[in-house]
Symmetry: C2
Subunit: 276 residues, 2 copies
DNA sequence: TTGAGCATGTAGTAAAATTACATCATTATC
DNA sequence: GATAATGATGTAATTTTACTACATGCTCAA
């Protein structure tokens, strides 16, 4: 909303521009203000304020109040703003955290498009699960492996292409291979997916839906890659992948019922017996 | 807000109750509605609607609109709700995602209490950085190591207690050891922290502030551990740690200026030359 | 049965939002 | 350089909206 105001500001006439500027400077005050007050505050007349509202695409002054409280009630909005070289450390940290939060929120909004139930059904019957990923995704794969193994399912991690290809080559029908790739463009991943599926195994891809890997996988969790305009932008999508695997892990634990829950409890207790 | 309405509903008179019910049923509509419209819609009079507003603790009808848009603009609140065994897969997944999002939001709110500037200052002058963590924190440590090493700083990962103790024993004054532990209760971590600081090295702890480790570290990033009431609760705090390290990494890259930015760019290009 | 107390509605009021129209300045056109 | 045209801005009237004061009617108890 405030961005919308900023955007039309240059096209506004002087008086209307003053109103826009005042709204931007005092958004909190403007949200609850009355038409007369705003006019007085900006040294203009009521109709001018109203014209300003219309010009930013609102139906009237009342809607301005609604839109403004809406925008402000997110005490902070986690919209992505690029980190720029002259940011202070604290600014940069805030921006990165916001980007991370936003990427999780985006993923949450997309959950309905993901094959969660199918994946849980297949994973719960898996003979073994292998998690494959290169570079940063390798760490996610390791983490996932560590998590799922506590359910009592044989798990392994594949962090280089030879390993991934070898696993695919010897996969059996009840094996599951989870492949993590941000862009899905490593040709070896698609090859491994084809190889594994041809042998009857299931390949779950957590990747860009417009990729060769996505086409060749059995199940795809679409993860849009945020175009990183700035070199400072970290891989927020990696966080989202981790959270997704967390969620899948819990869903699987539920689906497996008591035995899995027991194993979780036991493995937690094993740690707490000492300290964590 | 809506909860507030629900709470007073039983104490309301019939007509006022109808208003409350309508507001609960059509919150979106109610947010922008006019007094007359609500009265008509509920088959009652305007003063009754107004009385309803007063009874839920508002100053008038106008405030109802504000509170309502406020409540609705958080399309969902990411409050933590425990996963229970009879949840469906999709319910469980949503709950886990919400918990993850909330833990990031909490961390963001706590950023001001963290020694970001000091850490950046020390890290930018570090001869080498070692990231230490056990179990799940080990994966976070590996991920962080992978990230910081791309800045051109010598980095290593320590994923077991002997390694952590050995690093501490041979640490030099410009070395930095980053220790990750959710509870901070492993005695070896505190020992390592004492050992390393006594040799002039800096120990940055990302851990529970009420722990031995926190006391013995040079700098502490407090991370409150969410009491995991349910065995299904995953380690959301691990996500927050990752995001924090992401942020710290970006802040450090900024502080190091062009050389670090160049290295980041080069390492990104090295990947993009093939595919990621 | 009558009056106290409460729920509800009617009618009125003040203020706010919106509209219609007038004025002024600026620019374009002849 | 006068004049029409366009657009910005304000004034005043109108409508709508929120809110108040008061009246009606109902329920229950003495």
């Amino acid at each position: 909303m405030l961005n919308q105001v900023r955007q039309v500001l240059p096209q506004l006439s002087p008086s209307e521009g003053r109103v826009a500027q005042w709204v931007l400077d005092h958004p909190k005050e403007a949200a609850g203000a009355t038409l007369a007050l705003v006019a007085r505050e900006c040294g203009t007349s009521e109709p001018t304020v109203l014209r300003f509202c219309r010009r930013v695409g609102l139906s009237g002054f009342r809607e301005l109040g609604i839109r403004l409280t809406e925008a402000l009630s997110h005490p902070v909005s986690y919209v992505h703003r690029d980190v720029c070289p002259d940011d202070s450390s604290s600014d940069a940290v805030l921006k990165v955290m916001d980007a991370s939060i936003q990427s999780l929120i985006d993923m949450r909004a997309n959950l309905s498009a993901m094959p969660i139930d199918q994946s849980v059904a297949i994973l719960s019957k898996a003979r073994q699960i292998a998690f494959g990923g290169l570079g940063a995704s390798g760490h996610v794969a390791r983490d996932a492996c560590h998590k799922f193994f506590r359910l009592g399912i044989p798990c392994s991690t594949l962090v280089d292409t030879p390993m991934i290809l070898q696993f695919a080559a010897i996969a059996q029908s009840s094996d599951v291979m989870v492949l993590l790739s941000h862009t899905g463009r490593w040709p070896e991943f698609a090859t491994a997916a084809r190889l594994a599926t041809s042998r009857g195994a299931t390949v779950i891809a957590i990747t860009n839906p417009d990729s060769e890997l996505a086409r060749d996988a059995s199940l795809v969790f679409p993860c849009q890659v945020i175009e990183d305009t700035s070199i400072y932008t970290p891989m927020s999508s990696r966080l989202a992948q981790l959270a997704l695997l967390d969620a899948l892990h819990v869903a699987l634990a539920l689906a497996c019922g008591e035995p899995a829950a027991d194993r979780l409890r036991i493995s937690k207790d094993a740690l707490h017996a000492q300290a964590v």
